[in-house]
């Protein structure tokens, strides 16, 4: 592999990390809560703009702005699940699709009103120059983003598997009746899970702000990619989502380098279709076992 090839492989891994985090959020919402969330991309964009607004208007470092984005995203996620989605939980999937798509339009249009449809870029002091390691170069924002992704993923894992709240989330997802009979407030627990999913997504968005120019409908490009990653990793399989995120990042970057940028999407969806043919439950899917 040439030096440029190696460079784009590493770039792909770094970007894949951010995809993985966004997909981790969707995996919680789509895979665990079984809500088809078409507002996922828009929620990601909200995360981007919180970091942008705090950085641009108040001069706050993007990584210090992240906690604010997290709080806001948790509230948005919690409230969306607690009120509108709660009432259509057992409705057919297309009802969820319409409702969450409506949410997406509301979020996007609020952003359009506040921030205009123009492309905007956040410049961060000290990030103007790429960092060099040997003959490889790294955009500092991408490298930091990858580090944050690892930390956040670790936290989500700890929360889901080691804490009572996390156990309640998993229990409610696996058997709602059983959870209710043990005294778990399933309605609140689902809202908390949606909130956590939204936080992951918002952080992923916020991490992209120093990397790319943003505009209010940018989330739509990530929407489909997140669904692909979630399905590829196996619905509700959090580790699967992470690995698939990295795979998609690398495939996108390498195919862009070797075949040209316009090919990368085609290669991603081509591989997606191929894998669904060979393993319909995704790369790391548990098979089609019913959980109730």
């Amino acid at each position: 592999m040439s030096l440029q090839g190696l460079q784009s492989l590493l770039d792909g891994i770094l970007m894949g990390g951010v995809y993985a985090l966004a997909a981790l959020g969707l995996s919680l919402i789509f895979g665990v809560l079984k809500i088809t969330n078409f507002a996922h991309g828009a929620m990601m964009t909200v995360g981007m703009y919180v970091v942008f607004a705090l950085g641009n208007d108040l001069g706050l470092n993007p990584y210090l702005a992240l906690p604010f984005a997290m709080v806001l995203m948790f509230l948005i996620g919690f409230l969306i699940q607690r009120f509108p989605i709660h009432y259509i939980e057992h409705a057919p999937t297309h009802n969820q699709l319409l409702l969450t798509l409506g949410m997406a339009y509301i979020l996007e249009n609020v952003l359009l009103v506040i921030f205009t449809p123009n492309y905007q870029t956040l410049t961060v002091k000290g990030f103007e120059k790429a960092w060099r390691i040997g003959s490889l170069t790294f955009a500092p924002a991408k490298l930091i983003a990858f580090g944050v992704v690892i930390i956040v993923t670790g936290c989500v894992y700890y929360l889901l598997y080691m804490t009572n709240t996390g156990k309640s989330i998993r229990a409610s997802a696996q058997n709602e009746t059983g959870a209710k009979l043990m005294g778990i407030n399933v309605r609140n627990i689902r809202a908390i899970a949606f909130g956590i999913g939204a936080v992951c997504t918002g952080i992923a968005g916020g991490l992209l702000t120093p990397i790319m120019s943003i505009y209010p409908t940018l989330g739509e490009t990530f929407q489909l990619k997140c669904f692909v990653i979630t399905v590829l990793g196996g619905m509700g399989n959090l580790w699967g989502a992470l690995v698939s995120g990295l795979i998609i990042g690398v495939v996108e970057s390498l195919s862009g380098y070797y075949l040209g940028g316009s090919w990368s999407e085609m290669v991603i969806y081509g591989i997606f279709i191929l894998i669904l043919f060979l393993r319909p439950t995704g790369l790391f899917g548990r098979g089609n076992r019913r959980e109730n």
């Binding site: 998993r170 229990a171 059983g178 009979l181 005294g183």
Partner: protein, 234 residues
């Protein structure tokens, strides 16, 4: 301890339970008997806040819980081991048991209750780290009963715990019910397996088409000619 007066429960527009009055006194094992489809599960679910109660009252320890949420009912100490076990199938046996202790009261007595569950079902300790979904039906029923005990019940409701179990497993579960009762927990148990359950119950009610058809002490029921003919097969 549990007083149910003229309870009506529906599913959609269907009236399933059409006026049941039933009582469980402290320290009793009471059995609710009836064939498949007469509404046992609808009735039991309603007691735990998972049904649409259209009339009547449910009183537990002097507290009106007719329209209480399942959380409030669990907190009051009325715990249900549901039909079909409803375990968290991808989680380990230990995790299933731990989740049973969800309320503050149950958490405070978690260690003690876990020890008791392991004495009652020693095999659960060996299967601690296995996913609950991979166990046999009988083992799963033990986990379900154990999970219910972890919630520190004052009254334990068991909805057809012997369904799908071998005769040996059924005996084991019923023996555990006696043990739980000796420990001071009152029990309401729904069963199709009338022959066995009448041996451990103090009193019994027979449910038919959403109404109580007969009730009395276990001995009266076992000697009742009509019940003998319909359910006991001789």
């Amino acid at each position: 301890m549990l007083t149910i007066t003229d309870l009506h429960v529906g599913i959609g527009n269907l009236k399933i339970i059409q006026g049941i009055s039933l009582e469980v006194r402290r320290g009793e094992i009471v059995s609710l008997m009836g064939a498949n489809g007469v509404g046992k599960t609808t009735f039991m679910r309603a007691l735990s806040g998972l049904g649409h109660i259209t009339g009547g009252t449910v009183e537990f320890e002097g507290q009106d819980i007719t329209h209480a949420t399942s959380q409030e009912i669990v907190e009051a100490g009325l715990i249900q081991v549901p039909e079909g076990r409803q375990l968290f199938s991808l989680m380990s046996v230990k995790e299933n048991l731990e989740i049973g202790a969800h309320t503050k009261r149950a958490k405070a007595r978690m260690k003690e209750n876990l020890e008791y569950v392991y004495t009652l079902f020693p095999e659960l300790k060996e299967m601690n780290s296995q996913a609950a979904g991979n166990l046999s039906g009988g083992q799963q029923q033990m986990v379900a009963v154990g999970r219910g005990l972890m919630a520190d019940p004052k009254l334990l409701i068991l909805d057809q715990p012997s369904i799908g179990l071998s005769p040996i497993m059924t005996q084991k579960v019923l023996k555990a019910v006696i043990d739980i009762h000796i420990r001071g927990v009152s029990v309401l148990i729904a069963e199709q397996n009338i022959h066995d359950v009448l041996k451990i119950a103090h009193r019994a009610y027979v449910l038919e088409q959403g109404l109580i058809r007969a009730s009395g002490t276990a001995q009266e029921m076992a000697e009742n000619a009509e019940i003998k003919a319909m359910y006991l097969g001789h």
